[in-house]
Amino acid sequence: MSAKEFKPLPAQPAPVTTTGPVAWVRDNLFSSAFNIAATIIIAASLVAALPGMIDWLFISANWSGVTQDECVKDGACWVFISAWSQQIFYGSYPTDEIWRVNLSLLLLTAVIASSFLLSDRLRNKISIPAFLLLPFVCLLLLDGSMIGLPPVTTDLWGGFSLNVLLAAASIIIAFPFGFLWALGRRSEMPFARSVSVTCIEFFRGTPILALFFMGSVMLPLFFPAGVTVDKLLRVWIILILFMSAYMAEVFRSGFQAIPNGQYEAADSIGLGYWQKTLLIIFPQVIKVSMPNILATFVMVFKNTVFLLVIAVPEMLQVIMSALSNSNWLGGHAIEGYLFVGFIFWACCFSMSLLATTIEKKLDTSHKN
């Protein structure tokens, strides 16, 4: 029994051509004649364009100063942004009262955070009412006249905070409306259904700009003589109606994703229509529609920029009026637009990332 003990040789390393960086480069950059050509062209154009852009954006850019005369270097004049930063973020809101805008934004953040952090039981009791009350609390806080603070008229509100608060306030109020319209569209009552369908299709089919325009030229005609409705309030109403139509469609596709068994189970334990809808169906609808709700919010957030057409001082409008300011006639348009673009891109991109994450979490199919 002197059989040799079996000793396997140490494994050979995989060939260089199949693993590691060399293989990666071969597979992903130079796998065919076409890919080689494409890689070379793309790399060459990147090398040609990127250094100049980085140089203009950062290295030879002007970062400090207060007037445009201090922009002496060749690069971008970021002084333009920093000099106008207060207007860009808060519009013409009085400097002493800016804490009210900040507090509103903070409340918004807190309410959103609460829906993630609180336990399930508390969430239903606190977060949902807090969400629905938030727009009105912010309205009271920003206006101030009703709660004893110095009043600030709505024509002074503006800047990026207006974009954020307007979009948030609209989508929150659009939730119940959109839900009602979606229920109406699914209902078996013919008249209620046709009213819902008309509302949804009208507000979805009309360009948002036309709606804003109608808000500023037609809506005042609808109110009794002598009643003047604030411009921003009209914009808010328009945004709510517009959002409700989109949310209704989001909810409708959510409803379609709920299996029939859920309705039947709710019926079989004897729940009434509203109990069934609110306790069984609605929570599931919200869950499956979350990515679409976020996408809708991104859409309305981007659409708040359209308000510049009816001269509401949102962020881009502020930049454009700053560009025509006599002290800043140095042609800083590109810097201004890049900045607005970057801010919106950062917000919308992070939200769509969040939507994708949620979608992936919810997607339990194993198709691919």
Binding site: S31, G205, T206, L209, A210, F213, L221, A225, F349
Partner: protein
């Protein structure tokens, strides 16, 4: 186990067991009628108050009503018009110009956004890492920036171009400067009709060839190089006609006269900026739709295609893309519709499409908001309806045919 009755069962037994005992208001059918009547009454009241308020306000402000303003002279000029226009022409003329300009920019936008969308949507699946990254960067940048900012940005870039005297030029035929893009126009002389009819014959014969080749392949399995044959016919027939008839065409070149270019075709910067912004923005959404569509095709389809030995390019064009069209077409439909709605952002740079020129300038002068907004919105609804009908027709053809 069944001997004891639950309280629920006792309740059921003690309750009189007939349908008539259900309270009238508990019957869902009756409730439905009550709700709908309430809704109806509310809507009547709502519209009554709106209409009466509007009539009161209009008479108080001295706004006329009716459509008679359409026949009056507009008295303002329009930047660009596809049909002849003078300032003395009526508002009807303005309305038609607006519609044509809207359709023009929508068609340009739809064509280019589809091209961009499909290029970048398919590029996402490229085996080249750099190409894939470029597709991702394109989609993520351009769909997350408000389109109105993009159009203003492109317009600003355009305004930074040199003046006419120093325009960028390509071989002295195409010129680009701050006042627009100029390129030569093909002008037909007498006898050009022959060439046009040759082109028409070529198009028809390509269709016939395609049907014949498909029939032959179905019957015998033999393939016919349809693509090359069609290209040959499409290029050859008109070329032959051109040579036979002695080239009855000449190019009208743009030339610098005074401060600007004359002749050829000129495209105003507003149209170019708007077309770029809309195509790039919508293209990003279409690329995303194409990506989702391709991903919706199960991997097994690609693997099966590979196993029967199809080339990679054939797998895309014959197996994956046709199947993904089922998912892509409905999304394309809504993207096209939102592109048409987004043409209204032209008002930020002054391209004279329907919204700018009719709901903007005309409304400012006439003041009849209700009538003008009604007409404007009606056009957008009609355009979107046409798109929807066309796309649904196309969708029927790509739909999964189940047996």
């Amino acid at each position: 186990m069944f001997s004891k009755k639950t309280t629920e069962q006792i309740k059921l037994e003690t309750r009189p067991n007939s349908a008539g005992a259900t309270a009238f208001y508990n019957n869902p059918k009756h409730r439905g009628w009550i709700y709908q009547t309430a809704l109806f009454v509310f809507l009547i009241g709502f519209f009554y108050s709106i209409i009466s308020n509007t009539l009161d306000n209009m008479s108080a402000q001295g706004i006329k009503s009716g459509f008679s303003f359409l026949n009056t002279s507009a008295g303002f000029d329009v930047l660009m018009s596809l049909i002849p226009f003078e300032t003395t022409d009526s508002y009807t003329q303005i309305f038609i110009i607006g519609i044509l300009n809207t359709i023009l920019v929508s068609v340009i936008g739809i064509i280019f956004s589809t091209i961009l969308g499909f290029i970048f949507g398919i590029a996402y699946f490229s085996r080249n890492w750099l190409i894939k990254q470029i597709a991702i960067v394109y989609v993520e940048i351009f769909r997350n920036i408000p389109v109105i900012l993009q159009v203003i940005f492109w317009y600003t870039v355009f305004n930074a171009l040199p003046i006419a005297r120093e325009s960028l030029n390509l071989g002295d035929t195409i010129f680009l400067n701050v006042t627009g893009l100029y390129f030569p126009m093909l002008v037909g002389e007498s006898g050009s009709g022959f060439v046009y009819s040759a082109a028409a014959v070529a198009i028809v014969s390509v269709f016939i060839l395609k049907r014949w080749a498909k029939k032959r392949q179905d019957l015998t399995g033999e393939q016919f190089p349809v693509l090359w044959a069609s290209l040959g016919i499409l290029a050859g027939l008109p070329l032959l006609a051109l040579l036979v008839s002695g080239i009855p065409f000449h190019l009208d070149y743009p030339a610098l006269k005074g401060f600007n270019f004359r002749g050829g075709v000129s495209v105003i910067p507003e149209l170019i900026s708007l077309a770029i912004a809309l195509s790039v923005y919508t293209g990003a959404f279409i690329a995303e739709a194409v990506r989702a569509g391709i991903q919706s095709v199960p991997k097994g389809q690609t693997e099966a295609a590979r196993s029967i030995g199809l080339k990679e390019s054939k797998i895309m064009s014959l197996i994956v893309v046709p199947q993904s069209m089922r998912v892509i077409t409905p999304m394309l439909n809504s993207e096209y519709q939102s592109l048409v709605k987004n043409t209204t952002i032209a008002t930020a740079i002054g391209y004279p499409e329907l919204f700018t020129v009719f709901a903007g300038s005309a409304l400012n002068q006439v003041g009849q908001a209700i009538e003008i907004m009604f007409m404007t919105l009606a056009i957008y609804f009609i355009i979107n309806m046409v798109i929807s009908v066309l796309m649904n027709h196309f969708n029927k053809r790509t739909e999964l045919s189940t047996r």
